[in-house]
């Protein structure tokens, strides 16, 4: 398989992530989709402030497959939630396509999550009362009022079916999450995240809850999305073999970017 070239920085020093000399040549000219600078976040436990992120700078370019790794509790999920505007950083800035998004009003962040950023999770997070097809349709249902949705219903359903077909689930349209395996649920979740045709896909350990083969199938789909459909992907993972295939791997430790490595 491909070997990874790794750079290591002293802990106190900030890594220069903007030097993309070592990114894959196809990405060298690509515009920056996502960029953070000095993002910090801490949680309160009673009276004690527990710092989780102590100043994180990362950069994601269009078409890139970026992996974020780190020990459990190192703040990977927290960072991903900040990127998805599900939460606000205590300080620092986050840019999405050159627009600052960390301080947007709630309504704008809702729109951003609805149309521009797709997410998948370790625990799939499907709505249990809805069928696979309805789950996939959820983003457009949220985006459109009842009249507008009904008018474009056919178009939406067609796209949802195509996406389910893409992830290999065209035979499970009417199934509820309860009636599906973990791998199938994750595939529905992927189809849902693509429904609004987002610019960026954030994935939080999507294979973390799956067995080897199901996890491999999911990774195949994600790689295919990245290489065939040019979806920009930021994926948190534990699995070093997955990280090894990423264009860039960011390692978090103690709330900072410990190292950044590139696929050669």
């Amino acid at each position: 398989m491909s070997s990874a070239f790794e750079l290591t920085y002293p802990k106190s020093q900030q890594p220069s992530v903007s030097s993309n000399q070592t990114l894959h040549p196809r990405l060298l000219q690509a515009p920056v989709v996502l960029k953070t600078s000095g993002v910090t976040k801490s949680y309160r436990k009673g009276k004690v402030e527990v710092p989780v992120l102590r100043g994180v700078d990362i950069e994601v370019v269009e078409g890139e497959f970026q992996a974020i790794v780190g020990a459990s509790g190192s703040g990977k999920s927290t960072l991903l939630h900040l990127l998805a505007t599900l939460d606000r950083p205590d300080s620092g800035e986050i840019y999405f396509e050159e627009n600052r998004i960390d301080n947007l009003p709630a309504a704008s962040r809702d729109i951003l999550r609805n149309r521009y950023i797709g997410m998948i999770f370790q625990f799939y997070h499907l709505l249990p009362e809805l069928t696979a097809l309805e789950n996939v349709l959820m983003p457009v249902m949220i985006n459109h009022g009842i009249v507008s949705y009904m008018l474009q219903r056919r178009k939406f359903r067609k796209r949802a079916k195509e996406l389910l077909d893409l992830v290999g689930l065209s035979h499970r349209l009417k199934h509820r999450p309860r009636e599906m395996s973990g791998g199938e649920m994750q595939r529905v979740a992927i189809a849902r995240s693509l429904m609004a045709n987002p610019r960026l896909l954030l994935a939080d350990e999507p294979t973390g809850n799956l067995d080897r083969s199901a996890g491999d199938e999911i990774m195949e789909i994600i790689h295919e999305l990245n290489s065939n459909y040019d979806v920009t992907i930021v994926m948190v993972t534990h699995d070093m073999s997955i990280a090894a295939r990423a264009d860039r791997t960011v390692r978090l430790a103690e709330g900072r970017v410990e190292s950044v490595s590139f696929q050669s």
Binding site: H81, A84, L86, D87, A106, A107, D110, I111, L112, R113, N114, R115, M119, F121, F123, H125, L126, L127, P128, E129, L130, E134, M138, P139, M141, I142, N143, H144, G145, I146, Y149, M150, R192
Partner: protein, 529 residues
């Protein structure tokens, strides 16, 4: 769009929530039933009271009344003009009735309210005629005894009455007298039994028969005849005294026979004679009495009236009591009753009359029918209001049930809320899912309640019948209420209010949980397992 879909799916997948609105359903159903029955009762009562009482009554404080009714009526006509539909003068005085009990033979004495009425106009100011038992009297009142056919169309099992009864009765009386003189010893047990079935018996034959030439009898005791020919022997078989219409409960009791069937026992019937004693207009009043022949019964189904009112011709009372002004020759009356055009405001009319007849000068009491029955109507109104408040409290209690259930559901759905927010659903949208859920629960609950309530009301008498059969206890005792059926009126406006109220309570109860859901932090919600 998603709000609708999710509210609907939550509704379908969570039957426990439906259980929480059963109380709403029951509350709504009960409210509708109670309101319909109460409305039925009070409407029936209003109708009766209004029918009996006429719109406005001017009553003199003095029993000897207001003199010169014609002058008063002219004055009133001038004040009110076209608003008057009908007007009549009457006398209302306390009296004693005295008659022979058919069943046991002893004499019965009772206090009554004697009302002297003008037969030609009295029927127009109130629903008086409607409540008479003889169909001809309902058409046109004349205080003459009819052949038979009493109760036609009202009390189908009414015993033989009228001339048919009077003739047999007179014959029997003669026999009794003969027996008495023959044996020279009077013993009550010797009196032959009455030839009539004394209680109303099923299938009275020959009702409605008329005997040729005897359909109408002569009135005995009408001033002209009696004074001129004092020697004339009164023949009860063909003559009658002045007619009197008795409230039906004065001489009947409603009870049950051995089988528990509701039965009416009549102590006297149309065709029988009674004695009336009234105070005359002297100073101090002395008792004067005269004979009357019962020509009909009055059944308003308001026990208060049925057990005290007795109607006789106005002129007869005036003569009996001596209510004639010696100088002018005018006869006084004690009340003037008015029927006004539909929609006239009774209170303004009352005020106008009060201005024309000030108390200082005339001492008249001027009342609308509502004033007269004010306490009763107010009591019914109060009862309805209190019941409504109590029942709405029940629905409010149901609201707390919904509140608790909804909090549980929101906790259970925490992760879903996180998911929806991660997909870009705004907080308002999440809130409206749960509000919509509350709304649909409220709608379903009160809708079912409405249907149940209406079905119940529609079949209330059948249901009362079942309950009677099962428990062996009468739900609606006609000997108490005088209605044979439970009266109901479904007021659509009330139904709409009840349903809207219940839905509102369900929605209000879902506001807090919905807000809690909307305020959930998406990250917390997503981490929630």
């Amino acid at each position: 769009m998603y709000k609708l879909l999710l509210s609907w799916r939550y509704l379908k997948s969570r039957y426990i929530a439906l259980a929480s609105i059963v109380s709403v359903t029951l509350g709504v159903a009960t409210l509708i039933v109670v309101n319909s029955v109460m409305a039925g009762f009070s409407d029936e009562m209003h109708k009766r009271l209004h029918g009996i009482l006429s719109d406005i009554v001017i009553r003199s404080h003095d029993l000897n009344g207001l003199p010169d009714p014609e002058w008063h009526m002219d004055e009133i006509r001038q004040i009110l003009g076209d608003d008057i539909k009908a007007m009549t003068a009457a006398i209302q005085i306390p009296a004693m009735i005295n008659f022979r009990n058919n069943i046991q033979g002893q004499w019965i004495t009772q206090p009554i309210t004697l009302i002297g009425v003008d037969p030609s106009t009295y029927g127009a100011v109130s629903d008086f005629s409607e409540y008479l038992l003889h169909p001809e009297n309902r058409e046109q009142l004349d205080f003459l005894l009819k052949e038979n056919s009493y109760g036609l169309g009202k009390r189908e099992r009414f015993p033989v009455s009228g001339w048919a009864r009077r003739r047999v009765s007179a014959e029997w009386e003669q026999d009794a007298v003969k027996t008495q003189t023959d044996t020279l010893e009077l013993d009550a047990s010797d009196i032959p039994p009455s030839p009539f079935p004394l209680v109303d018996d099923s299938g009275v034959e020959g009702r409605g028969e008329t005997v040729a030439g005897l359909a109408e009898g002569q009135v005995h005791g009408a001033a002209t005849q009696a004074v001129d020919e004092p020697q004339l022997i009164f023949d009860p078989a063909t003559e009658q005294h002045t007619g009197i219409i008795l409230g039906i409960s004065i001489c009947s009791l409603r009870g049950r026979d051995a089988d528990g069937e509701v039965m009416d026992y009549y102590f006297a019937l149309p065709g029988d004679d009674v004695k009336i004693t009234v105070p005359n207009s002297g100073q101090p009043p002395k008792a004067v009495s005269d004979n009357f022949t019962i020509v009909d019964f009055y059944e308003s189904e308001m026990s208060e009236y049925d057990s005290s009112f007795a109607f006789v011709p106005l002129a007869k009372v005036q003569d009996l009591r001596g209510m004639v002004d010696v100088q002018s020759g005018t006869k006084s009356v004690s009340t003037i009753q008015l029927k006004l055009r539909e929609g006239t405001d009774l209170n303004t009319v009352k005020e106008k009359l009060q201005i024309r007849f000030p108390i200082q000068q005339f001492g008249y009491q001027i009342q609308t029918w509502r004033d007269m029955q004010g306490p009763l109507l107010a009591a019914v109104q109060l009862e309805t209001t209190i019941l409504n408040i109590l029942l709405f409290l029940i629905i409010a209690v149901a609201g707390f049930g919904i509140l608790a259930t909804f909090f549980m559901i929101v906790v259970e759905k925490t992760r879903d809320v996180g998911i929806l927010k991660s997909l870009g659903a705004p907080s308002g949208g999440v809130m409206s899912i749960f509000l919509g859920y509350g709304l649909s629960l409220g709608t379903v609950g009160s809708g079912v309640g409405l249907v149940l309530g209406l079905l119940f009301v529609d079949n209330i008498n059948i249901i009362a019948g079942w309950i009677e059969k099962v428990t062996g206890q009468e739900v609606f005792d006609p000997t108490v209420y005088y209605f044979n059926q439970i009266p109901v009126i479904v007021n659509p406006v009330t139904c709409v209010w009840v349903v809207l109220g219940a839905i509102t309570i369900a929605v209000i109860a879902s506001i807090l949980p919905a807000r809690k859901a909307a305020k959930l932090h998406p990250v917390e919600a997503l981490r929630y397992e």
